[in-house]
Structure formats: C-alpha cells, structure tokens
Symmetry: D3
Subunit: 299 residues, 6 copies
C-alpha cells in the first residue's frame, strides 16, 4: 500500500491518538469477577472479625510516584461488585499524568467494603498504570514531526490482554493485532512451511479476510525484497540494527508499512523514528512494565 505522508502524520498531529478508549462492559465485569473470586470469594476473615458492619470510611487512592493513570473504571467496577453503595469519584482520568502525591480517586462508604476490594483494585491499577506509564515514556521519545507509532504485541499477561491493550492506548500507544485471528502476520516458520516468502504471502492473501493487511516478518534485506515483490502490505523488520533499518526503509519506499521489533529500548526510539519507521512494537510494554507505586490512604 502506498504510505501517504498525510495519513501517517495524522495519527499524531490530529491529536486523536487517544480517542477515549473503553473496555466493553461485559469483558470488564467478567475479568473483575474472576479477580474478586480469587482474593475475596471465600470472605475476608480479618475484616469480618475486626470491623463493625456499620463503620464508614473514606479513602484516597494516591500516586506515590509520577505516573500515567490507568484503571479507574476497573477500580470502580471492583468496588461496585463488592458493594453497590460505595461512592467513588475519579480525580484523574485514565490516560492523564498524575504527580507523586496526587489523588487519583476517592472512595467512601462501608469501611468493610473498601477493605474487601482494596487489594484487587490496587493490583489492577498498579499494573495497568505501569503499562500506560511505560508506553507514554516511549511515545514521548518520538521526536516532534515524526509519525511513528508505539505498538504493543501479543506478549501480554494471560487473561488480561483486553486490559493491557487498553492501558497501551491510555499511554498514547497503539494496539497491534488482537489475537491470532485478527490479522495476518507471517513469521519464519510460516515461510518455512509454505516453502518461500512469496508462497506464504500469496496463500495468506488468498485465504485471509480482505479486511486484514498482510504483514511479513523478515530478518534480512533479501527476505524484505521477496516480501515486497510478493506484495506484502506491511513488513516487520526483526532485530535489524539502525543501519539495516535505514536501508530497508529506502528499499520499501511507499510500498509498505514498516514495523520494527525486537527488544527495542526507549533510548533507541528517536533514531528509529527519524529514520521513518512507521511502527515500533515493543513486547516489554506489557511483559515487563512491573507495577507503579499507588496506595490507598484512609482519611
């Protein structure tokens, strides 16, 4: 596909890179229910013993480090499933930055209920805010005027892919294909099985939904040439150094979208962006984000 400059530019200059992403309600409810069953499903013996059922409480979820917030609606769902009468107000919306000390959300109501849901809400928010924060760091590393996307991969936490992809969007990043069915991505073993890059790409074009672009992963300029000749819509340069990326981009011209992947660290992003890479996909956004420090302070 021709790679029109105006298009690639728009996804940053039009200011629409975060267009209020959401998590579908049934998915939100299902995952939260599983998490609550895991931690609270058999009761909370300490709270039941120590805290009177009539005791009220108020607490604030506070950032203890600078971060990009993600998961407030998940926390809301956690507390809603624990006790519909809790009142929760969000002070910093998902996708916004919070300074150390900032109050992200406030919650009040039954002290028992707040204690019951606290850990599960924190476990979600610490992890997802870490993903959003790490993504934002990468996105902010793209020099002005460059139109490169930071994208996630399928290296997500089993069971939490929907949430982590949402966190990437909250951090200003973009999602890659959702799962093995959502788009074609031809890797070395597919090529080996099909016999050649050309054969693999032709089979994929003939078989896949026409709504899916055909991406082919290549590990050399020779393979890249084959992929372009066979009509790949996008090419994934796997573990290319900067010099090879530059040569690859020159070869591609307007013929395909160029994605770079393979252990890309934040410091390398500016150079890749200036070379004209369209997409940098980074597994570490989700598999190594760890957890940010967020805590619940009681008033």
């Amino acid at each position: 596909m021709p790679r029109p400059t105006c298009w690639v530019t728009c996804w940053r200059e039009a200011g629409c890179s975060i267009n209020t992403p959401v998590i579908p309600k049934t998915t939100l409810q299902r995952i939260v229910t599983l998490a609550l069953e895991e931690d609270l499903g058999r009761g909370d013996v300490t709270t039941e013993a120590c805290v009177d059922v009539a005791t009220r409480g108020e607490a604030m979820l506070r950032a203890r480090q600078p971060l990009v917030v993600c998961g407030t609606e998940i926390a809301r769902e956690v507390f809603r499933q624990v006790d519909e009468d809790l009142v929760l107000s969000v002070c910093v919306a998902d996708g916004s930055k919070a300074d150390a000390g900032a109050t992200v959300l406030e919650i009040s109501g039954s002290a028992r209920s707040i204690l019951n849901g606290e850990r599960v809400a924190l476990n979600f928010m610490q992890r997802l805010s870490a993903v959003a924060t790490r993504t934002r760091t990468c996105v902010d590393a793209i020099p002005p005027g460059c139109a490169t996307r930071i994208a996630d991969t399928r290296k997500t936490t089993p069971g939490l892919r929907a949430f982590e992809r949402y966190a990437v969007r909250c951090g200003g990043g973009h999602n890659h294909r959702e799962d093995l069915a959502a788009a074609v991505l031809i890797k070395d073993n597919h090529i080996a099985a099909a016999g050649s890059v050309r054969e693999a790409i032709e089979r994929a074009k003939a078989y896949a939904p026409h709504s899916s672009r055909i991406t082919c992963e290549v590990d050399s300029l020779e393979q890249l040439d084959d992929a372009l000749t066979a009509g790949a819509d996008a090419v994934l340069l796997d573990n290319f150094d900067d010099a090879s990326v530059a040569r690859a981009i020159a070869m591609v011209g307007e013929r395909a979208i160029v994605e770079v992947s393979g252990g890309v660290e934040a410091k390398r992003i500016p150079d890749l962006a200036r070379l004209g890479v369209d997409v940098i996909s980074i597994g570490a956004l989700t598999h190594s984000a760890g957890a940010v420090d967020l805590g619940l302070d009681w008033r």
Copy 2:
C-alpha cells in the same frame, strides 16, 4: 492500496481457497458442551427407560439431498463428549459435496450413547451444511477467470459465529471481519458522528491497529469519491445497482478494494463478478441458510 491483478487472481486460481480450515479445539468443546447441556444435560428419559445399557448400535449419517458437508468434526466432538468409546468415521470430509443418499459418517457403539447425541449432532450438521451449501452455490456462480470473493457478514447466529464462519470457508467462501474489534468498517452513523467521510477515515487511520484495513461503506458516488480521496483501503458499495457498481469500479481504479453488499442474490453474482467486484458479502449465507436434509439411519 493498489489492487494488483496477480494477487486478486490467486485466491481462486492458486486452488487454495479452502486451505483446510479448522475450529480451535477449546472453542469447539465449549460450544458443543453448551449444546449438549441444553438437550441432554438432564438426561434422556426415553432412552434410559427403553434401551438396555449393553445394547450396541451402528448408524450412518446420510445426505437426503445434494449438499456440501460441514460439521463432521463437530459431530465427532458431540459424540465424544457423550461417550468416549463411540467409534466414528468420516466418509465425506467437510467442504466436499455429497450426493443424495451418500453416507457422510458412520458411528457405532453403545446404542444409548448414539441416541443421546443424535439430535444435537444433526442440529449442528443440518445448519452448517446448509451454510456451506448455500455458500458453494454462490461461489460456483462466479464465472471462470473472475477473481471475486464471496464473503460472510456479522449477521450470524448469536453464539455460533465461529462455526458459521467455518462453514462459509468450507463452502469456498471467505470470511469478513470476525467482530467489531477485528477491523474498521465505517458506516453512515460513524460518518455522521465524525462529521464527514474524510474525518471518519482519518480518525480511524489514526486510531486503529495498522494491521487493519480501513473500509468505508458508501451509498453514493459522491461519498465514494470522498472515501477514495481520504484514503480508504476498501469501499463497500451499499445497495448499488449494476450500473452504479460499474461507475464506481471505474472511479476506484487501483486505489481500493471494492466490496458490494445489500441483498445480493445468487443470480446477480455473475454480473457483479464480471464488472470486477472484489468482494460480494452476503448476510443470507448465514442468516437464511435454513437446514439441509441429513438423517441418521440405523443399520
């Protein structure tokens, strides 16, 4: 995206339009379990009363009309979940044609178990073979040398989308996007909400995974022009007559994939294919296929 002739051709001429589609095992098991719980979950009082537990039986699933077979592996899973000791052999594979009277599969073992699973297996196979048969009729209506695809839509039976999409592939058709997340398809209300075709397309390009093509549904040649100018990768001509389709294809040239939809019947397919339409999507493949006549004959 340029629409290279060689590519569009290959999906039929390369002979790979059915490349052994499969249904993932966990999905297969989950849907079959739900179906068995619905019909057999509380027991089979007649069989329990009348048929001795030691009685053996042999039965053949026979086509009572010409059809394209679909669902033999689903039937196998049905009977496996009922009784692992049943022996089932498939005589006509999914995607193949069967004449009236042909034996599609044979099953032997506990008579109780065969009776327990018979209705559920038939309910799946009659429905899915009807989808495959109807799809095949449409695919066979494409004149030699034309490279048009017959595709399904999201108008599938709630809960059975995975199976029905598989049936379409068994009939030689292609799948459209899997669900609302798998690709972008801009419709009139998206355009209205975004303000214009251009704005909708630009937002989608900026937001969607780069692995997804951007399709825009249009209902006039003016809208088509807007969509092409804004860089749509594919256009869906909604309820266009043949003359308008011809003009649209001339306008599009190599700039986009052309899909036609809106109550297309089998007899219109040859004309649309000759006009050079890339994709004809037909909701009736799944929502109105009905059931073919398949029955279980005991030996």
Copy 3:
C-alpha cells in the same frame, strides 16, 4: 387419555394461546452475555475511533416487511448490558403483528452504545421474529372451529432453544417437550431396542415421571394399533399421508392425542386440522425460519 372436546377447544377459543410468555431472567442474561462477548467483547474499533464519547443518538427499530415481533425484551437486555443509561421503549410488543414500516422500538442515549449493541440486537430480533412470523402463518392456517395446535420440535439452533421456543409461543404456537428429559417420546430405535412397541411403552410407563405423557411415534397403522393397545397417551404419526391420517384418527378415537409430523408445509395444515389432528409439529418453524427484515434507522 380421553380427548375431551371442551379441553382441546379451549386452547384456541379461550383466547389464551398467548398468555404472556416470558424468558427467565438468568437465562436471558446468560445468552445475551455470550452473544455480546462474541461480537463486542474485544471492543468496537470503528466506533471508538470515529464517535465521540459524548455524542447522543436516537434510533428506531423498524419492520421492513410485515412480521410478528419477537425479541424486544432480548434487545432491551442487549442494550442494558452494553450501557445501563440507554433508554429503550417498546412500541410493538412481542407476539403482535407489525406492518412494513412500523416502528417496533425506539432507543436513545450514547451513540457509541447504540452502535455497539445494534448488530447483536438485530441478529436476535431478525431471527426470532422470523420464527414467530412463520409460526403465526401456520397457526392462522388452521380453520375456524378446529382445535389443532402447531408445535415446535427439538430441531432448534444449538444454544438458542429457550429463545426459539419463546418465539414459537409468541407466534401463537405451542412448545413440544423441552429436552430429552422433559417427556417420553418413543421412536423406532427405542422400539427396536426394547423388542416391541408394547415392551417399549411398558418400560417407559414404569420408568418415567408420572407427570410425563408417553408418546409413541408410529410409521404404520399396525404400529399404531400396538401403541394404542399398550396404552400410549399420545401417538406421533410420522410421514403419514392424509388418507392414512384419517384412518389413524378413526382408529384412535378418544384413546390418545394424535400428533402429525414430518415435513408438514403450511398448505397442508387446513386439511390436517379438519381431519381432527391434535398437534402438528413442524421442525421448520425453527430450523428454516431464516430472518425477517428489520433495521435500525437513526433520527
């Protein structure tokens, strides 16, 4: 069982053939959740990209052909699960006829939410209204004064039996047994396994809950005689022509309920009804109803 005229008559003359059928809430919610997970569970990329979260919309579900409405409460549940703040009002209740062009229900609220649920709601309503419409056509074919029931079978869509049985009731039809546990229906293989019609019926009488009638399928007048002698409460005449049905009814007298089944088409219903058949069961009500044309028009 003696077949008292007053009783058979009442189910049409008492005007209670549709006595406000309902779908239990937990079943309704479960099936709708599965359908939403299938289509929307991973998000709606187009709507998220193009439609601002604050945009409001109003839409009307309209009949595009004459039909019997079925599924408005299912649509309500679909939209409720997507977004509790949507406002939905039903204009034509389930079981009522709608002319082409009639507004069946109206919905307003977040445009995103309406778009998110539209396809799932339509997939249910198009299919179930088709079942109700087809059933109503059959029910209306019964001549005045005849007391024949139109009944469904177990040839339903796997996973949707509860909904399709409801649709049959909405169309003025009656349900047959719910599943293999709900009542006894002795077929040829049960007879073969038991050794004789008499043995099968006696075993069933001895084993089944006393709340279940014993129905025996017969394919000849000889078998019918055996079944009556053995005390069947109901007989199912399988693929009998009209002359044989007449002879069978004469043989039965007041001794059993008479059901006819086997590819009965609408045009044959008046004759069967006039012969005095009690129940005509028709698999095509559910397996071949297809979909009626219902669409969502935005204001």
Copy 4:
C-alpha cells in the same frame, strides 16, 4: 386419564424399576469440577508437604453401616479429574445394597492424588447413598402386590438436583417433574390467581406442552371434585389423612392418577399403598437424608 391396573402394576412387577439410570457426562463433569475447585482448587498444602510425589497407595471405600450404594461413577469422575492415572474399580454397583464392612470400591495409584480427592468423593457418596438408602426403605415399605410409587420432589439441594434425582432412582424410587418447566403442577396460589380450579386447569391445558400431564394439588374433597370435573390428569392430595385419602380414591375412580404428599413418613406408606395411592412424593428423601457412614481405609 384412565388408570389401567396393568400399567400401574408393571412398574414394580416388570422388575424394571431400576433400569440402569445414568447421569449425562457433561453434567457429571461440571458438578464434579465445581466441587473439586471448592476443596482442592488452591492446592492441598498438607499432602504437598508430607507425601512424596512418588508414593503409591491403595485404599478401599467401605460401608460402615448397611446402605444402598450411590455415587460410584461420581467418585470415579472425582478421581479422574484429580489424576487420570488412578485405577478405580467398583465392587458394589449403584443401586445395590452393601452390608456394614463391605468394600464398595477400590482405588490405587499416587498417594497424593488419592488424598487430594478423598474428601470430595466421600462428601458426594455419603450424601447420595443416604438418599438412595432412605428411598429404598420407603420403597421396601410398599406391600407386595401394591403398585405405589415413591417419588421425590423439587426440595433438593441447590446445585445437586441431577445427582439427587439419580440417587432416588438408584433407591428404587421415581422422579417427579425435573423443574418448573418440565410439567404442570397447579398449587393453591395458581388457583387463587386464575380464579378457580376449573379456570386454572383449563389455562394450563391450553398453554402447556401436550407432552405434560396436568396435575392439580387439592386440599379438600370439594377441590378434588372441581379438579376432576375440569379434567385434571393427576391430583395431588395435600396433607390428607388416611380416611380422606380413601374417600378421595373412591371419588377419583379411573379418572386420574392419585398422588399423596405432605410429610409422609415411612410407617404410613403401607396403609397408603393398600388404599391404592399411585404416587407418594416425599421431600425428605432429599432434604433430610443426611449422610451415611462410608470411609476410606488405606491398605
């Protein structure tokens, strides 16, 4: 319905009162999985600590009191889900009597696995064997020559109805209707809502599947007369004393099946049976059976 003597007799004299009842496999697996998740889902810390993974064991499930066995196939499924390599052999089949001390089943294999599943298997078998044993006591109380059935009710343990109904069949009893959908049982509040016994029965006849008998609960001879006049197929005499039962049976003649319910204890069964009652339904079979003493002895 006329109550032919030959029929009522057969269900005991034909020797088919236990015709090898079974539990459908998907139901069996689902309930057992829930039970294992509850007890073992998070591990067995004691066994993991103390028992080497290579240690083998052999154990025998022994009756510590005379009982009717029920649940051996459930125990098999428990141990199969814990560890497919365990070897289990059933010594006393479900429905058979075991003396105190008798070995009901033997199991050998990994000692860890046997310990993991022991409690869940025992919890099922102790409870279900108690139901079967209590049922058998009631069934054995029926004098020779009487054709009365002992039946369960819907007063079962939530979640275990399928298993408890199976246990009743193993004890020689019969099942009543499976659930609220399986058959019609008109109670006082239905009569009050419909306005009269006649109206309730007519509505039910007009609405219910023809495969279901219409049972009407009555609490006086006046109501009984109404129910018979309106054509009830069965009548449930609620809390009638023996004299009233006798009068009721005389009134009913051959017109309906006669069921007695309401705290019937075992010692009253012979008299009721001699009076000619067809069905005695006893909630205590399931709600108050308690647990028999069965234990696992290691070799």
Copy 5:
C-alpha cells in the same frame, strides 16, 4: 502455642462470637444463579399459564418450628435475580432465633415472580437454617464459663461450602479450615507417607505458609506425645473417650490447642467442655442437619 486463658475465654465472653458474618457478593450471586438455572432456567409453565402477568401478591416466610434463621440475604438475592422490582423485608435477621409461627421475611410484588423464586429460596433457607439451628444447639450445650468452640469440618455439601460455613457462624459456631489449602491438618496417611509423626510435622512446618498453624490428628496418647514433641500447634484427638481426652489434656498443658472430633453428639459436649477441650469439630453440623420447616404463606 501457649493457650492463654484470657484468649480462649474472650471468644464467648466478649460477646463477639457472631460478629456479623457475611457472604461475599460475587460468591452469593454465582451460587444463586446456578440454583435458579436449575429450577427456573427453562421457565415455569404452570405459573405462565395460570397467573396473569399483572397479578400482585404478598407473602410471608414463616417459621413452622423454633429455629435459628439463616439465609435471608440469600433469599433476597434469589428474588432479586428473578425480578428486581420485588420488595423484600427481613423481619428476623440471620443468626437470630425465631419461634414457631414467626414471620421471618415478607415479600411483595408480581405474583408470578414470587412463585418463580419460592422453591429455590425455601430450599436454601430450610437447609441453612437447619445448620444454624443444629449449631446453636451444640453451642448452647457448652456450660457457662467454658471456653470451648463448636466448629464445622470439610464434610459440607459440594458446591455450598461457603453458605454452610456462614450458617455455622450464624449459629454461633466457628469455622475450621476453609479447604485443603487454607491450613495444615496432618492425618494418619500423611504420617504413614512421611514415615513418622515427627517427620510429617517438620515437613509441614518447613513447607506451609507461616500464617497456618500445624494441626496433627492423633489416635493414641503415644502419637500425642510424638506430636507435642515435634512441636504441633494443635492436636486433633480422633475418637477419644472422655477418660482419654482428660489424660490428653493433662499431657498437652499449655503446649497446643486441643481439638476433639469423631461423631461427637450434643449430649457429650458439656463433659468435653468441662474437661477443657478448646475445639469440638462436628461434621454432622453440615452433613446431617436436614431441613427445618419454613413455609411461604400468601396473604
């Protein structure tokens, strides 16, 4: 652990033996949904036929014998899942005693909805109130001044453990370990596998979470001595007579918690308590509680 008198005393004298136990909401909803699907999931044919959708009703759940109430919040959830518009008010809270004739809760709203949920609500409440009542009888048997606990075991109904443990707390009893993962309880087979009491206890101490006490079941005073020497935190005297219990308690001194188990009946509790037993665990609290008589009276 030293067994400080003040501590053991507190759990009765501090008046906190029922500190408002609760069932987590997600667990409550899940179990109730399963129960409703089982009884009502396919509809209520009698009520649908006989009761007009507009009919209103009011009913009172009444104790028909003296009992300790348990399950009102479960009943509330049952009726909420059936119909959110029902109004339910609790007259006697869980854990309180109700005399014969007392109204435990009142419910009003759609008559259909009350009838739909009645049986499921009763099945839960009759069973759980029986557990609470039986537990209360045992707790009340402890003489004033004694600090003995009555505890449940893992001999609970599969699927209902959370509810039955709650019922035990409502009856003034205490819970034992939740499941095989929640704490260490070394039994004879663990000892056999480990080689000796000492080895089993040391392995368990080395492996288990430090939050878990190590309990060792012993069947003789020799084993008790071994267990104490090896540092067991608690000992379970299995089937000891009173004289042996007395000797055991003298041996233990302050070194461990003393639990007695093995068919303890209510009449033996005072003696055991006076001997200074800390915990009496009784499987019959849950496996043999049966059902109390609670019924729904319509106004």
Copy 6:
C-alpha cells in the same frame, strides 16, 4: 507461639523447601483454557493459510539467559489443549536452574498445532520463570545458617495467583496466606476500626478459625509492644529500618514470628536474615518480576 530453633532451621536445612509443589489439575486446565480462548479462540488465520495440515515440526524451548525454570507443566497443558497428539518432553524440571542456551523442553508433532500454542505457552513460562528466578535470587541471598524465609504477598496478577504462588515455591520461596479468607492479617485500618491493637487482636482470636495464626502489622515499637501483649502469633514490621528491626526482634524474643515487609530489596536480605527475621515478604517477587528471555527454536 514459642519460636523453636529446630523448627525454623529445618525449613532450609532439611532440604525440603521445594517439596515438589504442584498445581491442581482443574485449576491448571481452567486458567489455560481462558488463555487459549483469548489468543487462539477465534483461530489462527496465518497458520491456517500458510501451513499445510500435514506438516510436522519439532521445536525446542530454550533459555536465552540464566534462569530458574517454571511452567513446564503449564506449557504441557497448553499444547495438550491445542492438540492431544503433540509430544512434549521436559528437559529441565520446574524449580531447576537453566543456563543460557539450555533446552528446557522439546515438542514435536503437527506444525500447525505448535504454532497455535507457542505464544500462550511462552507468555506463561516467561512470566513464571521470571518470578521463580527473582525468588531464587532472594533466597540465595540468605546467608548460610540463617533460617529466614522469603515469602510472596497478595500483590499478584489478577487471575494468575495460583500460578504465581507456585512459581514462588519453585524459586525456593514460601507462600503467604492465599487470600483474605485463609488467615488473619491485621492492618492499620483494622486497628483503627476496632479501636486498639488489643481489641483487634482479641476480636480476631475470637472469630477466626483456630487453624489460622493471628498476624498483626505494626509500624512502631509501641504498637509492637501492644501486639505482643495482646498475644499476636506473628508480627509484621512494616517499613522498619535495620536498627528498628533489631530492637523489635529483641523485644519479641520467643513470643512471636517476626515478618518484615515494605520494599525490601535483595541487597538488604543478608542483614535482615542475620538479625534473625523469620519471614521477609516481598510484593515485587510477583508484581515486578517482568519476563525472562525464553524462545522457541524450530529444528
């Protein structure tokens, strides 16, 4: 509880700190199924297009960095659910160290099936091996002769707690309480609600299962004194510096288990261990372990 030296020592010196931990099979299957549904549930369009159904493959999972292996049985279950005919052999068992380049497991069979399950298997193993590796680093930091445990917390990934706790055990660490029901851990808000440390501890002792130790978190030496006086079995020193830990341990003597928590890093572990801390619990073991580098190499 007195803290006997022999006991604390044994959990390292007896060499039983990894006593072959396992994951219960039903839990293993459930979590793996969810993960497969998420990635593969709708098919693998690339593999279906490019790889012939008959193509065989062999691949080796290799460590690309030194690590402690965890998850081989999970990978086995992943591939088993994808295709029962795959052959998998484990070369390095869970809990063992693998050098960079070492082959951890080998798999052979259908190339399609290996590609289908590859990503899910890797997502599990990379994450869990990281947890095991990080835990092992901490465990190895304990000086010889010290008896300190490294323990996890409830800061686990929602949905994966069972797997992550297993990984901690594989790394030589210990588990803390499983969930809010498994043991008592009194925190500041419980103390505030109860009114005092003493009151909180007494309520907990009176209410909790006797199998659970009572742990009290303290943030000052004053609170520690209160907790000891009230009879806490274990104390959690929250964010104490080394000097305060030393003073705390002197105060505690033999009266309680001493746990230290609050951002403890590996380099601080030797000092804490030498001070005599019993348990160091570290949330980062699970929330910040990230992913180790493990990849699948095809032969």
